[in-house]
Symmetry: C2
Subunit: 144 residues, 2 copies
Amino acid sequence: MEKRSIETIELEMAVLVRRLTSLTTYKKIGNLDRAAYLLLHQIAFNNGTAGVKMLSDEFQLDISTVSRQAAALENKGYIIRVPDPVDGRAYTLQITELGGEILDENRQMRQEIMGKLLVNWSDEEGDSFGELLRKFNATFLEED
Amino acid sequence: MEKRSIETIELEMAVLVRRLTSLTTYKKIGNLDRAAYLLLHQIAFNNGTAGVKMLSDEFQLDISTVSRQAAALENKGYIIRVPDPVDGRAYTLQITELGGEILDENRQMRQEIMGKLLVNWSDEEGDSFGELLRKFNATFLEED
DNA sequence: AGTATATACTTGTATTATACAAGTGGAAAG
DNA sequence: CTTTCCACTTGTATAATACAAGTATATACT
């Protein structure tokens, strides 16, 4: 990789976080803020097999942070905590029907926003950008 | 742009913010946290022509937020506030020599981190990713 | 000219997402 | 059967943010 590319990526990443943060953090989209959205997505993705510990590992967040976020989701009725039958300390988090609806609704809203931003992009650019983002995110995981 | 690309980008963006936030927000790199780094960069970039208002517009942050961040930078001696000669309410923010050194030092550290993450990427991927990020960030600005 | 409104900035206060530390109760290992 | 480890919760502190109120200057409108 050329130095120039690294310079560009480094700077644009810093800018991007700023933009995305102001887009999604202090203005929650629908019923879910960014953290709750991601957590709910991941709980749905893992489909009842993930507990607080596993999710905090996946997101590289402190377990206490995820514990609180999960409690918030449970309060709203979007997930339930199911005691692990073999390990009395652990729970698995399962998305409820309501949680699934909320997640879909939110995902759709976010996709609409993204779609509007990308309205003038070509198919090739969009495809390429998506794949590179996916690869970049995957790269983080390898590092830890 | 195809629906599938939008779906991918939407999800990967959410994940990316999580990753970058945990990388840069609660663990400041060197002497500067992410907000301070970006602000200092932008002050250097605008080279003594930007005030708090202009910067808060550029970052889509509340003016009070930028005011505090600028005050923090000033306290550390990284910038100085120069009264605008024609408008008694306004200041322009100028980077000091020390500020410039700190910025360079920080930028280099960040580039090293980014370089390590991207170590296995090809020149083409890196180039393409950088350009797409730049384009994406530019897209945000058009929208406002 | 004088008053009303708008603007650039600062400061006060509240919220939110996070980390770290301490506590609880169960699991695993010696 | 005791010690250590682990999953999770709860207490507390911090940082970045927004919103609201305040100050001083600038601009616009009689």
